[in-house]
């Protein structure tokens, strides 16, 4: 048996759709079997409520009189990004207040707006002919904004590793307070209620799909940043209208000693069209495993002490090397349930229908670490991009004139295709002028074996070449052997007193 999304939507419109939460599914499947559950259930709702730092909102304030092109913007002393059009800004959840530090931040501004409180906008500008005003201060309510669109780059992690601390001091992390000597374990995530966990192949979670976002009817934009479903860590980028949101599902928070974050409530409805959906939504806390990570190691590659399931974590104690260690959740399972139940209610009432993603999300992607470039300066940081070159068939006299005019001692020689074939120096020219009968063209006197460098090579390597070959300049070439710049001993002087020596 198979159902189509259209059939399910028709049932939603008729008020006959049978909607259950993901928490109910394992029981239903155990009782009715997969086929029975498929026949019985039309929609499974999911939900999660936890700290999601990668959140924020685009705000449009409308134009003032006289108008201002806001360059730097503060909302209740929290800086918002103003590198957008004149009266647009992005307030990020983790940005901290200039006056209250971690006690107040972007997340609090967003919560204050949603709860109906006035927020003070301050902005400054250089002033332009079209936007003469230089400063503005005003109090704004959410209703005064033209748009207030939440747009969160990374929400709803499929699961999250649990945290512990093996050091002898208390750690303050984004995973909360971690007591010394493995004194406690913290974890986050809704386990069996989590949206992506119930659709790990991302068959129904993708661009354009309607969701519950902080009490509003929002939408999935696409894959979230750091999306890594290959290892079980898929994420979503989502959007919703701040004006429809509720404080019940949106809360600012402070992780002591770490900073400000936003608790976001998010749920996705999943259509039960085949037994594969039934099987995926029957996932239990016992089936979802995460690593218990030692946050005492200050590295990207923190060691995992053991594997734990959400069932163990939620039980309140985890056995670690023979000790019973107590656990703390940082996300709220009770509110996650409330998200899934509210979403269920919406669909039963017919106020939300389902759809197939307009663009799917890659279920196999794997996040990569940062591409780190060499720490020291590279050739491109100091090379001279003004290249004076000469053709191999030019006369030596022309080369002499170019050297004089270009105020340089080195002329890279190029062929008719523009590729590097040799190099001539003032010494080579002098020698040729002193013995005029021997040669008349550049190609006759040039050095054909040219030592070169590339723009992304470390300066230290290029310097080594200069020393090794006892030369004072290196042509900088691209992959096709075109000369893009020159690196001379003089350019190395830029390193001194510059930003590379501190």
């Amino acid at each position: 048996m198979r159902k189509s999304i259209d059939q399910i939507n028709q049932r939603i419109r008729d008020g006959n759709a049978h909607v259950v939460t993901a928490e109910q599914m394992p029981g239903i499947v155990a009782e009715l079997g997969e086929e029975g559950a498929l026949k019985e259930v039309d929609v499974v709702t999911t939900g999660t409520f936890g700290a999601m730092c990668s959140s924020g909102a685009f705000l449009n304030f409308g134009h003032a009189e006289p108008p201002i092109r806001m360059e730097r913007i503060w909302l209740n002393d929290v800086e918002a990004y103003g590198g957008l059009a004149a009266v647009d800004a992005y307030i990020g959840a983790t940005q901290q207040s200039t006056t209250r530090e971690e006690q107040y931040g972007g997340a609090h501004v967003i919560e204050d707006l949603v709860s109906g409180k006035a927020v003070e906008l301050r902005a400054i500008s250089r002033g332009t002919d079209c936007y003469p005003r230089r400063t503005i201060t005003t109090e704004l309510l959410l209703e005064n904004l033209n748009q207030a669109t939440m747009c969160n780059p990374r929400n709803a992690y499929q699961r999250y590793n649990a945290a512990v601390n093996t050091t002898d001091r208390t750690l303050h992390t984004y995973m909360g307070t971690l007591l010394p000597s493995c004194g406690n374990i913290t974890y986050s995530g809704a386990g069996l209620l989590n949206p992506v966990t119930n659709d790990p192949k991302l068959r129904f979670i993708g661009s354009g799909v309607p969701i519950f976002l902080c009490g509003s009817q929002g939408m999935v934009i696409g894959e979230g940043t750091q999306h890594s479903p290959a290892g079980g860590f898929g994420t979503l980028m989502v959007t919703g209208d701040l004006k429809q949101m509720s404080q019940d599902f949106l809360r600012a928070a402070t992780m002591t000693g770490y900073g400000v974050t936003l608790y976001v409530g998010l749920g996705v409805p999943l259509p039960v069209i085949d037994t594969e959906v039934v099987r995926a939504t029957a996932v239990r806390d016992e089936d979802i495993t995460v690593d218990l990570i030692d946050y005492g190691v200050p590295s990207r590659n923190r060691p995992a002490l053991k594997k734990v399931t959400y069932a163990e974590l939620r039980s309140g104690v985890v056995n670690l090397n023979g000790d019973e260690v107590r656990t703390s959740s940082l996300s709220s399972f009770r509110r996650a349930r409330l998200v899934a139940e509210t979403l269920k209610n919406w669909i039963e009432r017919g106020s939300m229908e389902l759809c197939i993603p307009t663009r799917p999300i890659d279920p196999k992607k794997q996040v990569r670490p940062m591409h780190e470039t060499v720490k020291g300066p590279r050739v491109l940081d100091i090379m001279d991009r003004n290249v004076v070159s000469i053709g191999e068939n030019e006369e030596i006299k022309t080369a002499a004139q170019k050297l004089l005019k270009g105020e340089t001692n080195h002329l890279p020689v190029i062929n008719t295709k523009g590729r590097l074939v040799g190099i001539v120096t003032t010494f080579d020219i002098s020698k040729a002028v002193a013995n005029p009968q021997k040669a008349s063209l550049v190609r006759d006197i040039m050095k054909k074996k040219v030592v070169t460098t590339t723009s992304d090579e470390a300066v230290d390597i290029a310097v080594r070449k200069l020393e090794q070959y006892n030369i004072s300049a290196l042509p900088v070439v691209d992959a096709q052997n075109h000369v893009v710049a020159m690196l001379t001993a003089m350019d190395l002087g830029k390193l001194f007193g510059g930003r590379w020596l501190k």
């Binding site: 409520f49 936890g50 700290a51 909360g176 307070t177 007591l179 004194g183 406690n184 374990i185 913290t186 809360r251 928070a253 402070t254 992780m255 002591t256 974050t261 608790y263 309140g316 260690v325 107590r326 656990t327 703390s328 959740s329 940082l330 996300s331 709220s332 399972f333 009770r334 509110r335 349930r337």
Partner: protein, 128 residues
């Protein structure tokens, strides 16, 4: 019942708690104590019916005694029932009920304040 005892160590450094135990015969449980060179503060637990007896005797010996009616208090409008406090508390004041709602057993609280710091939502406060 819990009593918060403050005493100066300026004169004679009298063993006030031991003295009161001997004088009254009431068994005192010291739950938390901070003592430095000039003063000390101890949180003690005594049976309810002996509370006044202990308080009066300690006051006689020069200590300032306050009966603590309340432990940590939870602001339900701020709490989201995350449970960050549960594993932090040394006295297991916090737990989840069957609906994953945070349950607080105030009587166990020794006012150490660790939970206040760990609460991401500023939902916990100590009585002043």
């Amino acid at each position: 019942m819990k009593l918060l005892v403050n005493f100066s160590r300026g004169k004679g450094r009298k063993p006030i708690i031991a003295q009161v135990v001997r004088d009254t015969g009431v068994l005192i449980n010291v739950e938390r104590a901070v003592i430095d060179s000039s003063e000390g503060e101890a949180l003690i637990d005594v049976p309810d019916d002996a509370c006044r007896l202990v308080r009066d005797r300690m006051a006689d010996l020069g200590a300032t005694v306050r009966i603590l009616e309340h432990g940590v208090s939870l602001d339900e409008s701020e709490c989201v029932d995350c449970g960050a406090c549960i594993s932090i508390c040394p006295r297991e004041v916090f737990s989840f009920d069957t609906d994953f709602r945070l349950h607080v057993v105030e009587e166990r609280c020794i006012l150490c304040g660790k939970c206040m710091e760990a609460c991401p939502h500023h939902a916990l406060t100590l009585p002043v």
